[in-house]
Amino acid sequence: MSFKNYDKQNFIIDTANAFTKRKISKRDFLSKMGIAGIGMSAFATGVLGGARPFRGNMAHAAENNTPEDVANFLREAGKPFAGTTIRYTSEATPPTVVLDTLKAEFTELTGINVEIEIVPLEQVLAKATQDVQGQLGTYDIYYLDQAWTSTFSRDTIDPVQYYKDKPDLAMPGFDFDDFSKPLVEGICEYDNKWVGLPFDIPIFTLMYRKDLLEKHGIAVPKTYDDFTAAVQMITAAEKENGIFGTGCQAKSGHYSLECDWTQAVWGHGGSIFGADKKFSGNDAEGVEGLQWYQEMLRNSPPNSVASTWDGQWQMGASGQIALCQSWAEFFPGWNADDSKVKGLWEMAHPLQGPHSLRGRDDVGFGEIPNWGHQGGSSIALSKYSKNVDAAWLFLQWACSKDIMTRCTLAGGFAPMRNSSYTDPRIVERKDRVGGGTTRHLDTVRWTIDNVMASEPDLPIWAGVANNEIPTELGKLVTGQDYNGDAKACMDQIAKLVDAKVEEADLI
């Protein structure tokens, strides 16, 4: 999303507010809306829920610190592949958006052209699925959400092994050990193989408006109970002013709703699967988690049930919500110079639940219940690529120390590499309040290292997490079915998911 589009959204919101307060006439309102309607295709894409909110500043990535030996390596290694074009398709994640701009540097060094197709997440899944089904090699690199790692593990080349197998194409100082261990385990490892390289780590943390909490004398919540009380109090006090206690990404049938639900279940001591590999979201803890989520929806802007992460981000940036346990990568944008609530958002550790967490031995399919849901992704080398070596050079460049640090500087999200946290360019921005701040990264790192949660690894998870679970949850939260009965909804999901697992011979 560009700054221009952000201005347009603010223009629309301001116009709508002015109209509802009778400051402008109906004619003026309609004419202004008409003006705003022109050229809004980019914004419309955002409303579709396709785009992850990018609120970075490309200027922060301008400083090129690629070491000379790496640059020389790329120049030499890239010579045989000059003129080759490699392709990959990705969601509009902050690192992809930055990489799309920086890729010209790679082309200049190697002569290899890079085409990045940026589409909504569900289309990325559809494209990758078709590519692997036909073993087409249309894409040389796959963007893999953590929920798809197991699904695509057999279709990618293990980068650690390839690095050893092709010493002439091994980038000097690439340093696999520099990648955050929990991220490698949670995002890209499956069956003792690196499916790809960690590329992006949106993770749930608590974010709150310090001005609103101070105004109502509320302490920063540490537990789900504190959070619930604070949310209810703020909704009751501020709803008339258009401010709600929290906001959700509860769009029916969308993965974002599944993410919210998963965190609610884990946060209340539940899990998605039990040790017997049966769906366990319908046990007492799971149902308690869902009931809590229903209560949060009652304290959220009504549009929450039609919003994905992009809509939730807009709620925070436009000052509609006071507290939110969601993706940490929202934070830089909510504090950006052109945000309506610049400098008012703070970040804290994820909430602790009323019950203890379920142990890893008590759950199935490698699920990791914890307080901080991660939605990371990796980029992986396609086994069917016709330009494997050229793509491998790009993959190493994209995940190299300098590029990953610059992606963080420009995009404001958490780095994949430990070295980035101590990079002077990152440290220097920790004191900033507005755009380009890195002051939230310590909390993010703590969450990754200590309380990061991961969804289960099973080859059918991409389908189940994008279809059966969010569709049935959508029926519940919009009142289409189940009459508000969380247990009935969970029982139905259990029936559907268990049937899928059984059909896939995974039990």
Partner: protein, 305 residues
Amino acid sequence: MMRDHDSKADAKLIRLPRWLTSDHPFPWLFPASAMLIIFGLYPVLYSLWLSMFKRNPATRIETFRPSWNWSKVFADDRVIDAVSITLTYTLIALTIQLVLGLAIALLLDSDRKGFGLLRSLMILPLVVPPAVTGMMFLLMYDGSFGVISHMLYGLGLLSPSTPILAGGTSALWGVIIADVWQWTPFMVLIMLAGLRALPKDPFEAAAIDGATDIQAFFRLTLPMMSKIIALAVLIRGIDLFRIYDYIKVMTDSGPGTATETLTAYAGTIYFKNADFPYASTVALFTLILVVIIANLFIKIFKVRF
């Protein structure tokens, strides 16, 4: 000189390949037949073949089980719901488009100045791609700043606590309105063509006999237009039955499955669950339903082409 020129021209004609001068229909039918086979017949046959396999999404192994997906279709609650939603969507949208289309066509059926321009302007919505129309309405329905939502709030017909696309019934209506906006002009065009082709004599005779406009409409216009109307209903009905674009863009079948039509469900199975054989089966099931309903319609309303 003249004769010399003619003989050269004859020689040129004689040199044309035989198949180009043949009276046999094959060379002339071949291009159209080839297109039909490649883009029409082959995909249907391939889908039929695909539908006979059971796919394990975990191992991606497909085993030949001809009845597996077909028995699944009839036991799948979402298919049954989707049939009901598809029929509801088709009937409501078709009725509105037909009534509006005919009414607007009657209004535009005039040779007075400016009506030609009006008729041309009617075509504009048809040139907008359906996905763009969906995005346009998505914005206008937005609960926070959508112009349609705000107008409905103002009229007291909608509350800010229930966004249009977040309620089961309202979401379906929301999608239907976008469809009506885009496709009513198509009905108008067909009806206008029919109206302007009607003979004038019966209407003049009726006017002399003192028939009112309403009598003339019900006793002359409608009976004479019946075949045109039946054809328009058939074409739009088939189109509506396979609705996908608006639903994908505006609601993604939600909330829950409130706007999940058969084609939308097939798309979900294909793109999200990667169960290609089952998605093909649902698509074929849709095709069979369309063929049955269309033929019933042709038989009942005696549509002749």
